[in-house]
Amino acid sequence: MPAISFQSVSKTYAGSRSGTSPFRALDDVSFDIAEGEFFGLLGPNGAGKTSLISILAGLSRASSGRVTVHGHDVQSDSAQARRKLGVVPQELVFDPFFNVREALRIQSGYFGVRNNEAWIDELLDSLGLADKANSNMRQLSGGMKRRVLVAQALVHRPPVIVLDEPTAGVDVELRQTLWQFIAKLNKQGHTVLLTTHYLEEAEALCTRIGMLKQGRMVALAETSELLKSASSNVLRFKVDRELPPALARTARVTGRIVQLPAQGALEIEQYLAAVRQAGLTVEDVEIRKADLEDVFLQVMAAERNPDALVA
């Protein structure tokens, strides 16, 4: 039985009274996540990631299709499904009336978990919150509040952990603390579903990756398979002026840095020749292996669904 199963899930938001037309956020999305898997769900803003997670968490209802958690339907058997889920929401929300320990005790109590102090202490220690246990939520920095959100999601020891952009806008230290802890839980058998815009994190952590674009799953495969499917190399260099249009179409440009996907030495030579011919000055040339960001950009740039990537 899969830990999470999305079966033909679609979601259409009704148009508003002010005249906006109905918006199809998810279009027939189907995939399973196995128990113990570390799954990455990627996609640009508005691709449908948060809609999918909201449906999974019971915060929103699918227009059609079915979602189960450990076999429990998130609508018809919502109580059991929610017991299995620990969700870290994307927004930095907190209850200003309570301190950290109270917030964790209360969250634990909602799930009917009693005598949970030992696990709460372990969460506080593991997430670097031990010295903030008696601080009011209002007094915490953004990063600390994010840690509390993670602790709240884990306080009832859910077998499935859902992290919706948990490292957005947080410092390096928290990222490392968080990923060490989540990786440890994953090794212990917890299933993890992660959405993130930090593709290097996804590449390092996730065993399998799904990519959403405009509500459709456009790539679904093992991380290693996705990397193999991409161009094997990337030519990276700095230029002093704009690229010729022919190159600019395929290049990834960040300021002065240009990155071009290249299959082999011949293609690299052709690129450099084209740049020289355009009269540009080239600096800091290097060739590196393609990473998940290159795959992501290729998939997102594709006009049609690249079925070859859906395994």
Binding site: S54, A57, G58, L59, S60, R61, S78, A79, Q80, R82, R83, L85, V87, P89, E91, V93, F94, D95, P96, F97, F98, E102, I106, Q107, G109, Y110, F111, G112, R114, Q152, A153
Partner: protein, 251 residues
């Protein structure tokens, strides 16, 4: 504690942590009403032959405090947590709609009765104790607070902004409370306004509650009990239904 008990405890803790605002302030407001209206009208208004105006006013003020604070508790908790986003912590749990209802309404009853008791304790010093039928007092206090707590749940779910909530409170709850006989007996009104008052469920809560103090009321406490009980069932059914479908909270 089980899930609903935790939510109930959290809701009580929430208002208790700001008790100066949620308990002490309404007690002070009620005492000011008593001092001002009692001082001005004590010798000018006689409602029942044996009871002075200030003594008459006390049960009305106590019940008004019970009702307003019960409504404020559930409604403000829901609208605040909706707007701040912290309602997600409850939405992500396996708590059933019944658990939500019992916890939100139960904590509203606790706050309403607590404030009412505070108002009673302070005001009784000015008028002496009249307690003819304490059970009626308790029954109407609890039923009235539960009814307003359930109404607060509906308002809290419906309102998307603080000004919508303020409109609900100022244009519905406040007029219905003030026009329910807190400050007067409806027998002192022209017959048209007496009829209008009979359409106001708040009138029955206050009249029945006052019966427990003096053994005197504008209508039979049994009639009031039946009407308040029916109103509670209807309002609760609506609140439970809205919680079950996740009205405005589960997209």
């Amino acid at each position: 504690m089980s899930g609903w008990q935790t939510l109930f405890y959290k809701e009580v803790l929430r208002f208790w942590k700001v008790g100066f605002q949620t308990v002490a302030a309404p007690v002070l407001t009620a005492v000011l009403y008593l001092l001002i209206f009692g001082h001005v009208l004590e010798d000018k208004v006689k409602i029942y032959d044996t009871i002075g105006y200030t003594a008459f006013l006390v049960p009305g003020l106590v019940m008004m405090s019970v009702l307003q604070n019960a409504f404020a508790n559930s409604s403000s908790s829901l609208i605040q947590s909706k707007i701040m986003g912290s309602l997600v912590f409850v939405l992500l749990t396996p708590l059933s709609h019944w658990s939500w209802f019992v916890a939100y309404v139960g904590s509203s009853v606790v706050r309403g009765v607590l404030v009412g008791f505070g108002v009673f304790l302070v005001t009784v010093g000015f008028t002496g104790v009249h307690l003819v039928a304490p059970l009626w007092i308790l029954v109407f206090a609890v039923l009235g607070a539960a009814l307003l707590g359930a109404l607060g749940v509906i308002a809290g779910l419906w309102a998307e902004k603080f000004d919508q909530m303020a409109a609900f409170q100022n244009f519905l709850i406040m007029p219905m409370t003030f026009l329910s006989g807190v400050f007067y007996s409806i027998h002192s009104l022209p017959s048209f306004w007496q009829t209008v008052s009979h359409l106001n469920p708040f009138f029955y809560m206050i009249d029945g509650f006052r019966y427990g103090f003096f053994g005197l009321s504008d209508i039979s406490p049994w009639t009031s009990l039946a009407i308040v009980g029916t109103a509670l069932v209807v309002v609760s059914a609506i609140a439970v239904h809205l919680l079950r479908i996740g009205y405005k909270i589960r997209n």
